[in-house]
């Protein structure tokens, strides 16, 4: 009641420094090209010869919401692909549902099956908490992805994207481009407005802008779909005759947003995307549209979760940390991708 998911995520955003581990820095390397990470064997690492060496067999249950947009589809695909890289991992996928009752039942099935670990991106973090607690009580480590449970006992490890940080990164990029011009018109095209994550993104965006004396002049909300993005952007362009910068929260709906911009024939502004789809990154690389940057919200979170689950069950540690155990919470960094650094992020971007 007192601690809503939204409030908690904001707090987390603030305390980011203490916990943040860069995705690219620590868990980005695939087993095939992981020689650099594994070579630096730390004191705590098991003697078996690196984390990617085949260990005891691990059965992992994986459940996520329905893949009804590109990012969510990429989450499941990346998780399955990651599991396939390891001969010692068997992944059971209870794929795609937006019905919490059904998702709870899927987790119950994993408990009945006595899987070794459960990786779950809950449709609703609060609603899946009781069954996650049940799994933990049954001795099965739960790895919570993206949408946080409301009890710290419900997961052994939590891998989160940083929605507040995403807004911050977008805002800071826009500040950098428009710095000083306090009369700039800045527009925001949000995602689904009744999700806590949308509020976090907008709050972070507003905070970063206010630090350089800017503010959002026009704000519209879409729904993560192409159709919704097109409608919202058309209305926005109709309402504001001059715009200097647009932040669009989501690259899936961005396909529609770009179409609306194309139809309007306007190009007096630049646009920053969100989530980091491969399409958008290719546009940024080509540098021939209004799209000049996007902010990555890693679609590889669940894949990281699969790795964490494997490490936990095999009693290994994160090899780049000195700690003996896998961390309690990992908050992924949300970098702004521009023409200068896009090559670095394109390989892990998702196809929308």
């Amino acid at each position: 009641m007192s601690l809503t998911t939204a409030a908690r995520r904001i707090t987390i955003g603030g305390a980011l420094v203490a916990l943040a581990i860069s995705l690219a820095g620590c868990t980005g390397a695939a087993p095939t090209d992981a020689t650099s990470t594994t070579a630096s064997t730390v004191a705590a690492a098991p003697p078996a010869g690196g984390n990617d060496a085949t260990g005891t067999k691990v059965v992992i249950g994986f459940s996520a919401p329905a893949a009804d947009h590109g990012w969510m589809g990429a989450i499941s695909k990346a998780a399955a692909a990651e599991a396939a890289k390891y001969p010692d991992v068997e992944l059971k996928v209870a794929e795609g549902t937006n019905d919490v009752n059904l998702q709870i039942s899927q987790v119950e099935t994993f408990i009945n099956d006595k899987v070794d670990a459960i990786v779950i991106l809950p449709y609703d973090g609060a609603a899946l908490t009781p069954v996650a607690l049940q799994a933990m009580k049954a001795g099965i480590p739960v790895i919570n992805i993206d949408r946080e449970f409301d009890s710290p006992f419900a997961a052994r490890t939590t891998v989160l994207g940083d929605n507040y940080g995403m807004g911050m990164s977008a805002g800071m990029y826009i500040c950098g481009q428009l710095g000083g011009k306090s009369d700039s018109v800045i527009a925001e095209i949000a995602g689904i407005d009744n999700l806590p994550l949308t509020k976090d993104r907008s709050d972070g965006f507003a905070k970063a802008l206010s630090d350089c004396g800017l503010k959002v002049s026009n704000r519209v909300a879409a729904d993560f779909t192409v159709q919704g993005g097109e409608q919202a952007a058309s209305n926005l362009l109709q309402a504001a005759s001059h715009i200097d910068a647009i932040w669009n929260h989501d690259d899936d709906q961005g396909v529609g947003v770009m179409q609306a911009i194309k139809n309007s024939g306007r190009n007096e502004f630049f646009m920053v995307g969100g989530a980091g789809s491969a399409n958008v990154m290719r546009d940024i690389q080509a540098d021939n549209t209004v799209l000049k940057a996007t902010v990555v919200y890693p679609s590889t979170q669940a894949a990281d979760g699969i790795r964490m689950a494997r490490l936990l069950v095999q009693k290994k540690a994160l090899s780049d940390l000195i700690e003996v155990e896998v961390p309690r919470k990992i908050i992924l960094y949300t970098p702004a991708v521009t023409k200068d650094n896009v090559a670095q992020y394109l390989p892990t971007a998702f196809e929308s």
Partner: protein, 336 residues
Amino acid sequence: MTEPTVAPTAESAVARSGRRLPGGVTRNLGLVIALVLICLVGFITAGGRFASVDNMMTILRLAAIVGVVSIGQTFVITAGGIDLSVGSMLGLATVWATTGANQYYANQTTWLLMVAVALVVGVAGGLLNGIMVAYGKIAPFMATLAMMVAAKGLAEWIANRQTQIVKVRGFETFFSANPLGIPMLVWIFAVVAAAGWVVYNRTTFGRRTVAIGGNLEASRLAGIKTNRHLVLLYALCGLTVGIAAVMMMGRTMAGTSTHGTLYEMDSIAAVVVGGTLLTGGRGTIFGTVIGVLIFTTLTNIFTQNNLPTSVQEITKGIIIVGAVLLQLRIAQRAKA
């Protein structure tokens, strides 16, 4: 739940004689065979994992909430109506029962307060549906569609589009209990199904429901207060929605406007597959229970075998079409 008797003797005759099979034994038998076949597939593909007691309980828990809603839906559909608002009404009831104020008072007094609020919200929504249908003469599809949209909006408004976490200890204790090794949710489902069966098959209320679905005008002429009966029917459906909302809160320890999403479709599918005619006039509570179990068992088998939900949805669609085709044939045979 039972209706004060007015003129019980004549009206069962109105229930178009001959079209109402006694108990619908043969068709229910077909359903049971279908369920057994599905279970067999589960046993063959997943073996002991499928047949374990734990897994049976998982299936029943999954079935319980939609099951309770489907019992109410059976009554409404039997009477020739439909209730599209059950899903979002369920969400609204969970939200209303879990507001800060309600949880505060529940902590001060008893957790039953939250149960009461959910039931009242469900029944009130049902009453409103019934009044729109019976006295407003709005087609049930439209009346309950309006309610579906409005209830969703109200739920989002009350909850400020957030998930409200249940922090009432007694509530949690009650719903996580397993009397006689059977989860509380399953007990509630069993009680509601049994009560529904009795009301449907053994009371004048049930007979009148069938009569109204068979022929509204004839029922009215035969002395049934059809308008009042329709209102009570939708209220009864609302009551089951309230009960389901309480169960959902017990299962998730949370109230949110997204609870119950698409349950109108799940419940209608279960009712129709169970053998209740969408056109009204004939229905079966037992069939509805089997219908719910067919879908949830199927879901469970797909999970057990690691199959994508897309394939499952295709299968569901095929089952629904099959059931409706079967219904058409039965209806034609009854006419001939």
